[in-house]
């Protein structure tokens, strides 16, 4: 009798819900987090796609010009090699503007929205 009673009490306690809870807006916060992560991935993919397209366009344009007028392309290349630092800096700035526009600002805006 004592054993059965103890078994009953213990098993009933095993089945009772533990006192662990998450906040009432847990789902809302989680969905927001998932959505912003997905958005970030999409933005990054879009940026990488645009950068690739720009590089390809430059490569195609250079190739075409090389066939039409070799000298212009050679002159451009020699200009680039003579001013490597300046050209690299300009390319970096332009690329950063594209990155900020497509990814960074959106990410920061999302974070700002989350904290407010």
């Amino acid at each position: 009798m004592k054993n059965e009673e103890l078994d009953h009490i213990i098993e009933k306690s095993f089945r009772s819900e533990p006192d662990f809870h998450v906040s009432t807006d847990f789902t809302r916060k989680l969905i927001f987090l998932v959505t912003s992560r997905e958005q970030w991935k999409t933005d990054l993919r879009e940026y990488l796609f645009l950068t690739t397209v720009l590089i390809l366009l430059l490569a195609v344009a250079s190739g075409t010009y090389y066939l039409i007028d070799k000298d212009i392309v050679i002159r451009i290349f020699s200009f680039i090699t003579q001013n490597t630092l300046s050209v690299a800096f300009i390319v970096f700035i332009l690329n950063f503007i594209l990155f900020a526009d497509r990814v960074l600002l959106r990410l920061l805006f999302n974070r700002w929205n989350r904290t407010n």
């Binding site: 004592k2 054993n3 009673e5 103890l6 078994d7 009953h8 009490i9 213990i10 098993e11 009933k12 306690s13 095993f14 089945r15 009772s16 819900e17 533990p18 006192d19 662990f20 809870h21 998450v22 906040s23 847990f26 789902t27 916060k29 989680l30 969905i31 987090l33 998932v34 959505t35 992560r37």
Partner: protein, 206 residues
């Protein structure tokens, strides 16, 4: 159309396969429904394992993020609840390892028995016996807590617990038996035959 899908997602009868398909198609309402459906399961497993209320929400969030990111890999070979429970279990165990709390995995039942608090038999008329047992469950080693939660609270079968935790079925049964024996021994130790009648009355009142 989106509105119709959203409405369908609020239908409690929607099965797991449909729900997974909807989420994979990018329907966030379906994911909201999935989170609401399995929130308790994840909170119970994670809470019982990590036992840190202040970090419970972050770990649960991590579990659901993993569910969302890996849902494409779910192959209907097991129930969705089993799959989600596996993620919750692994995330919690990794959390425990990360914060070096794995040391509490203690197989020495005598030491565990000593750790369990005494139930003051003089006070039990007023006390909540179930609360006392629940508190003692929290003191048990992590593997005992895991199998108790999965088997008794979430009603998973032995095979499903084996799938979730990777423990052989025999080990699961052994842990369940030992956890129950420990608590029973403690209760036997503190409750005598005559007082058990009052405990029974308390129990029947609930």
């Amino acid at each position: 159309m989106q509105h119709l899908i959203a409405d369908r997602c609020q239908t409690p009868g929607m099965n797991d396969a449909e729900l997974v398909n909807q989420v994979l198609n990018g329907n966030m309402n379906a994911f909201t429904f999935l989170v609401n459906r399995y929130q308790k399961l994840v909170v119970h497993i994670t809470g019982r394992l990590i036992q840190r209320r202040e970090e419970l929400e972050d770990v649960c969030q991590d579990v659901f993020l993993k569910v969302y990111q890996n849902l494409g890999k779910y192959r209907n070979e097991c129930k969705l609840s089993t799959w989600i429970a596996t993620i919750a279990y692994n995330t919690s165990i990794n959390y425990l390892r990360k914060f070096k709390k794995g040391g509490e995995v203690n197989s020495d039942d005598r030491a565990v028995f000593e750790k369990l608090a005494d139930f003051k038999s003089d006070d039990y008329e007023k006390a909540d016996l179930h609360r006392y047992i629940r508190e003692q469950i929290e003191i048990l080693p992590v593997h005992y807590r895991t199998v108790l939660t999965l088997y008794h609270l979430e009603e998973f079968s032995y095979q499903e617990i084996e799938q979730i935790t990777g423990m052989p079925e025999g080990t699961v049964k052994n842990y369940l038996f030992r956890a129950k024996a420990l608590l029973k021994e403690k209760l036997k130790f503190v409750i005598n035959e005559s007082s058990l009648k009052i405990v029974k009355e308390i129990n029947n009142e609930k």
